[in-house]
Symmetry: C2
Subunit: 333 residues, 2 copies
């Protein structure tokens, strides 16, 4: 049987995979995007990668996931945040011309959502929401067993939903957007401020020794002993898992904010499952636990409501696996 | 050709209509719900009403819209807010038994949304969101040309989306829900507080005369001259249309809040059209204008984005017209 190829075009790397009907990546390719050299050269190398994979198997179609607004009918990408100079690129047209294969294009988070839905944490679920937490906060929804694209290919934009109407200004021009509270760099920014306060508190103590609190020696946070540039989400997550108080507070606070965003997802989509992936999801169970608690407290839970909040299952392959199925989905209604 | 009957079951009245293929109500019935006497007696009278309409035309199916959580497969209503004692009623089963017709049941706002989509302000639009503003704030979405029901029949619950994460406590147990800011009684509550402040300001003025501001006699708001019980959304809307400053401020503020809720709808569903109906929509153009401005400012608008915010077109018939089509929709995927 013919297989399909999934392509994940990022700002730095492009990953390709030959994907079987069970969503397994049976062969792969990887290349540099070199985004600044423009889309044509990159897509020519993608076509060469596709040609290499075709030597191993009969290929039926190519599906591409790419960050940005995608015109799904024409396979054109608009406003790609990490691909300067790619605005308006007819990815579908160029790749079809270069490969002679049927090519479909979607937003990168849509591809991840499709992957998790068909092969990962969302299997068997007709209504789900998938989010990716990283530098940006992305989302995509399956509604009635179909990907929700929206009228402009922009559905699922969880990052710029409002959780604090009068909140902090966001790079999008709005205020109080979810991304402004749970995006990687804002977590780090909050961490730095907290660490600074912690260090000040510790060193202001006369004898410069660990603080006593209720008769117990209070251990300083490990985060306070790292150089500032080492304060990244992974380090914070690791420290939280090791029981570091400050790290745990940061992760829980992030989970509380995330939970507010999820309340809105629950209210509007009523998904049976919310799937959380992306780098920040590596903050792990304490993050999900705090998010779940906020949703439980605010999410209009009624007896027997079907709702799970679970981590993504496929990791980095989700986008490739999902994109590969684009040519096999039923046509939009 | 056989026609269909739409039924709109409210807490006080039940409206029935024989609806043609163009969504026109060609014959009607109306009866008291007498909700406290239980569902059986009410549904028996609905069946009698259906029988009367059948004398005029061949009827194919009956569609029912009812406030509450609806199990769409079995046509059971749960937690109906205005129908005490109806929790768990098998509306479909009872009405099918009583009428011998095919019966379908959905949430009342879903019915309005279907009506506006098929026959009203949403015609020709595959991705839209419809909201009803009144005592409560309801919503429903069409995604990919289908009604989004959600995994629990609870999709579109705009009223309890969070717009102020640390906002005012809401009756749902959450905080900062949209309904807490734009629900009818909260608008009135805000109006009363403002009027009180206005009256205080005017009477504290030594000569008890209209205030001078920049050399111009400032006219007191007409709202300040009404008895408190007359302060309802219609009066406020009328005063705003007449140019009353205080009323206009109240309407604009309400529109700003509504706009924050719509930012989240736009971000998550990316509808081509947002349709606003319900009593509060009677606040009219100043309300929509303020809401549009907030969305424009915050809603990640990009060049050529398809998005309109428009008033509902069908008025009170939307629910009947929409419900009547339930038996003619394609089966869920």
């Amino acid at each position: 049987m013919a297989l399909d190829i999934g392509v994940d075009i990022g700002g730095t790397n492009i990953k390709l995979g030959l994907v079987d009907a069970q969503g397994r990546v049976v062969a792969r390719g990887r290349l540099k995007t070199e985004a600044r050299k423009g889309p044509r050269q990159a897509l020519e190398r993608v076509a060469a990668g596709v040609a290499r994979l075709r030597k191993k198997h009969v290929v039926r179609s190519v599906g591409v996931g790419i960050a940005g607004l995608v015109d799904h009918e024409h396979g054109i990408v608009r406003l790609p945040p990490n691909l300067p100079g790619w605005h308006g690129t007819g990815v579908k047209e160029i790749l079809e011309e270069l490969t002679g294969l049927d090519v479909h294009v979607t937003n990168d988070v849509n591809a991840v959502c499709l992957g998790e839905w068909l092969f990962g944490a969302g299997r068997g679920c007709d209504d789900l929401f998938c989010l990716t937490l990283g530098t940006g906060v992305g989302g995509a929804a399956i509604v009635n067993g179909r990907l929700a694209l929206g009228a402009n290919g922009a559905a699922g934009e969880l990052g710029h939903t409002v959780i604090f109407g009068n909140g902090l200004p966001c790079r999008c021009g709005g205020r109080g957007c979810l991304e402004r509270y749970v995006g990687a760099k804002y977590i780090v920014r909050r961490a730095r401020a907290r660490v600074k306060a912690e260090v000040k508190r510790m060193t202001s103590h006369r004898d410069q020794m660990p603080l006593f609190k209720g008769g117990i020696v209070e251990k300083p946070s490990v985060l306070a002993m790292l150089p500032a540039r080492r304060l990244d989400p992974e380090t914070i997550g690791r420290a939280a898992r090791d029981g570091d108080r400050l790290a745990l507070e940061l992760v829980q606070e992030t989970g509380d904010f995330l939970g507010l965003g999820l309340v809105n997802v629950v209210a509007l989509f009523d998904p049976a499952r919310i799937i959380i992936g992306g780098g920040i999801a590596g903050l792990g169970e304490p993050l999900l636990k705090a998010a779940r608690r906020t949703v439980l407290r605010r999410g209009q839970l009624f007896d027997g409501r079907k709702l799970e909040i679970v981590p993504a299952a496929l990791g980095n392959d989700a986008g490739i696996a999902g994109a590969s199925r684009l040519g096999r989905l039923p046509a939009p209604a």
